[in-house]
């Protein structure tokens, strides 16, 4: 009896701890500032879309949204492409080269990506890649390659060797085997890794903070930071912007829950 009560109380408490702040944000995006301060959890007096209209009107959320989409989509696509090619090579090579490649990329798992901010910054200044979405995409690819290769290699190694061998006997080359056997079979792993990468790129703050100063090149996390005013923050606008920034993630989470959870946990377990 005591166990059951404690269990239920604890479970409810944490569920509320998640739901209450989330509700404050969702409800707040329809409210005026004063209403948020005085009654954060009450339903809005009127469900007005003024905040959203304001946000679109001032135009400082549409551009970052577009930038974030560009950066995330291209980063994920190229990381998955390069990582799956490399992972295929590593998983098929029984020679020393495969081993060396694997160790090379494992080094990247040992060195936290954050420590490279200074050399990357100076390199990008020289290459004129600051204030450039291409620059962010390149950084994202480089930073996420090791973990992606790690996840995909372990997956490719699980594909039965006979599948490859049969294709090899039929005269298919490596590129062909990669495309018609390894890729189709690894669709779940690629999907999970893709989502994991998308979340990282969509939410990254450190590198954009350092590389992007121009307003029209900012990504969503940078814009959100800008909403925090020097002296007073307009929480109604901030919450609305958070809503807009989170919507793609929430939609993906609801639509592809299994893949989403698998991706984010695989990233943690393998990383």
């Amino acid at each position: 009896m005591f166990y059951k009560w404690t269990k239920n109380i604890l479970l409810t408490t944490f569920a509320l701890a998640v739901l209450v702040p989330s509700s404050i944000v969702v409800l707040g995006s329809f409210k005026k500032d004063v209403e948020i301060y005085t009654k954060p959890l009450a339903l809005p007096k009127s469900w007005s879309l003024d905040n959203f209209r304001n946000l679109i009107h001032t135009g400082n959320v549409f551009t970052p949204f577009k930038n974030s989409v560009i950066v995330a989509v291209f980063s994920v696509f190229f990381t998955l492409l390069f990582a799956s090619l490399a992972a295929y090579a590593i998983s098929r090579m029984t020679t020393v080269t495969g081993r060396v490649l694997f160790i090379l990329f494992s080094l990247g798992l040992a060195i936290p990506g954050q420590v490279n901010i200074i050399p990357i910054y100076h390199l990008f200044v020289k290459l004129h890649l600051t204030n450039s979405l291409l620059g962010l995409i390149l950084v994202n690819i480089a930073l996420t390659l090791p973990i992606s290769i790690f996840i995909l290699t372990s997956f490719f190694k699980d594909i039965p060797r006979e599948m490859y061998e049969v294709a090899g006997i039929d005269g298919a080359g490596h590129l062909r085997i990669y495309r018609s056997i390894a890729l189709p079979l690894s669709r779940p792993a690629m999907g999970a890794t893709g989502i994991f990468l998308f979340v990282i790129c969509w939410n990254d703050l450190l590198y954009p903070l350092m590389l992007i100063t121009q307003l029209d090149k900012k990504t969503l996390p940078l814009t959100l930071i800008d909403f925090r005013g020097e002296f007073a923050t307009s929480y109604s606008m901030l919450f609305t912007a958070i809503m807009v920034a989170s919507i793609p993630m929430v939609v993906m989470y609801i639509a592809m829950q299994r893949t989403f959870v698998a991706g984010l946990t695989a990233g943690a377990v393998k990383g």
């Binding site: 420590v115 200074i118 910054y121 996390p221 829950q257």
Partner: protein, 281 residues
């Protein structure tokens, strides 16, 4: 086939990492010519820099709090949510939800909750008569680090619950049935079955949380920017500020070398004590 990956990775990961090491032996403001100073940055860090020592201390405290609370809570919740029923699945979905938000969003939402004047946390505490506990969470150097640690726990506990549930579901059910027959209490079952059997999962959770805590930047930057009085400064925020506010690039690089060493050391220690097998299966 590995050429594109190797090219990007070498040029934008390994080469910068080596350069970073080179910078750490230099004094450089980014404008004038870098000056080779040998180990000076490191000796200064170790002997003269009280602030950096404080920051490393902050980071260790932050890591300990987050690791202990996040691991304990997620293991506890995972044991509650082990069976697959409608309620447990719904709760797991709710718990996981913060993980999909961006750390900046989470930081800014909690900045609102923690606000001493109109924040939800203090309003709730006052409403139930706990005025004494209505603190200036982020504005007081005594509490800021803990407030951010709490946010971090809120942020990632759900993700760890999922990892634990997957791990605990591997434990054969007959072990519990046999224990039940022998009249073992819930606590005895936990101590003698769940805990030892979940040790590999605990190793993963602890290792991941530790590394994540030493890499932490976003929450601090969006909530306090390290303040007040550096009370919530962590290693990565210090590297960032040393480089991009004080323009001491060489010195900042030396700090980042310290971060690498700390991370490697912790990983090695945990591997030894928790016997993690990281190998690809």
């Amino acid at each position: 086939m590995a050429i594109p990956a190797v090219a990007v990775y070498s040029f934008l990961y390994l080469y910068p990492a080596i350069q970073n090491l080179a910078y750490s032996f230099e004094r450089w403001d980014g404008v004038t010519k870098p000056q080779y100073v040998g180990l000076h940055n490191f000796t200064y860090l170790a002997t003269n820099d009280d602030l950096f020592r404080k920051i490393v201390g902050n980071n260790i405290r932050f890591t300990l709090i987050v690791v202990i609370f996040q691991t304990a809570l997620s293991l506890l919740f995972a044991t509650f949510l082990l069976k697959n029923t409608k309620t447990t699945i719904l709760l797991r979905v709710i718990y996981f939800f913060p993980t999909i938000l961006s750390s900046v969003s989470v930081g800014l939402i909690w900045t609102f909750l923690y606000n001493p004047n109109f924040g939800f946390l203090n309003a709730s505490l006052k409403a139930i008569g706990l005025n004494k506990f209505a603190l200036n969470w982020l504005g007081d150097s005594k509490y800021s680090l803990y407030a951010i640690a709490l946010t971090q726990v809120w942020f990632h506990t759900g993700q760890m619950v999922i990892i634990y549930v997957a791990g605990l579901q591997q434990i054969p059910a007959d072990l519990y049935e046999a224990a039940e027959v022998d009249g073992a209490t819930r606590w005895q079952q936990f101590k003698n079955i769940t805990w030892p059997m979940a040790l590999p999962t605990t190793a993963v959770v602890v290792a991941y949380t530790t590394i994540q805590s030493f890499r932490a930047f976003d929450l601090v930057y969006s909530m306090t920017q390290g303040g007040p009085l550096n009370s919530s400064d962590l290693i990565v925020t210090s590297i960032y500020n040393t480089a991009f506010s004080s323009f001491k690039y060489g010195y900042a690089s030396a700090q980042s070398i310290v971060l690498i060493v700390v991370v490697l050391l912790v990983t090695w220690l945990q591997r030894r004590t928790l016997r993690i097998d990281y190998g690809v299966k």
